[in-house]
């Protein structure tokens, strides 16, 4: 079943169904969870809760990624 997430403002369609959790989405996108601040529908999701955060059709997800250096 096809479902859609809005990730950083861009619609992304998942034809084989959504990743079940935020952790699974980050794994699919090959993003290291330790370097990401996440918001879903405008609310911050703490990293310790990524694995318990279930994704649903039409969620708006902001992923703010950090590279090292300072």
């Amino acid at each position: 079943m096809s479902a859609t997430l809005k990730i950083n403002g861009t619609e992304k369609t998942f034809d084989q169904g959504l990743p079940s959790t935020l952790t699974e989405l980050l794994a699919q996108l090959e993003i290291n969870a330790a370097t990401v601040v996440a918001e879903i529908n405008g609310d911050i999701v703490e990293r310790k809760n990524f694995a318990q955060t279930e994704l649903k059709d039409q969620m708006a997800i902001e992923l703010i990624r950090f590279d090292g250096g300072g």
Binding site: A34, T35, V37, G42, E62, I64, F66, G68, G69
Partner: protein
């Protein structure tokens, strides 16, 4: 500058998390701007390898960065109101250390520490703006470093792609470009707070984080 703008700058309390290439230089800019008070936080000491980009001097090697920064900033302005904390910031300590701050500058080196600071400020402290940096390694490409307003509470500086690593050094000019973007975003945010209701004449990029 109009008087209420001056009031916001000279009465603001700004936190600086990390006093390396970003933080030591942001602190210089904000001290010269006469921001009301700076809360400076770093657990580390000055090393020789820091001198290629951080605002310290050879005779300060071995000193805590907090102590060295306090001395250097007081040479710029002997009247500066500065508060130093020699602690390693954790999610538990951040709300207490920065309790009086209106804006916090994220000036860490490691990506996971940047994540920790930004997540903690956004989830545990109300009404504070955090100005963070990601993507400043290497040299050249000054114009790829931009300031983005991600949300009302998060401003992100950098090119978002240039992490440091083997063959990609941190250099004084490019770290300096990012640090002064950061200081300028802080100044603009404070002035906009002072001009609340007046639409800001900002060229800060809106919206999405690529």
């Amino acid at each position: 500058m109009r008087s209420h703008t001056f009031y916001e700058l000279t009465n603001a309390v700004v936190g600086i998390a990390g006093l390396g290439g970003l933080g030591s230089n942001v602190a210089v800019a904000l001290t010269r701007l006469k921001v009301g008070k700076l809360v400076l936080v770093d657990f580390d000491v000055v090393e020789e390898s820091n001198l290629n980009r951080q605002n310290y001097f050879p005779d300060q090697i071995g000193q805590h960065k907090v102590d060295a920064s306090l001395k250097n900033l007081r040479r710029i302005n002997p009247e500066a109101d500065l508060e130093g904390h020699k602690v390693r910031l954790t999610p538990e300590k951040i709300p207490q250390v920065f309790k009086d701050c209106r804006i916090i500058a994220e000036c860490f080196d490691r990506a996971d520490q940047k994540q920790m600071l930004v997540e903690t400020v956004l989830s545990k402290i109300k009404d504070v703006v955090v100005v963070s940096v990601s993507g400043l390694a290497g040299y050249g490409r000054s114009n790829e470093i931009v300031t983005r307003r991600i949300s009302d509470r998060l401003i992100l500086v950098g090119d978002t792609v240039s992490g440091t690593g083997p063959g990609v050094p941190l250099t004084a000019p490019r770290v300096g470009v990012a640090a002064y973007h950061q200081a300028n975003a802080i100044a603009e945010t404070l002035i906009n707070i002072g001009n609340a209701g007046v639409s800001p004449a900002s060229d800060m990029m809106k919206g999405e984080n690529p």
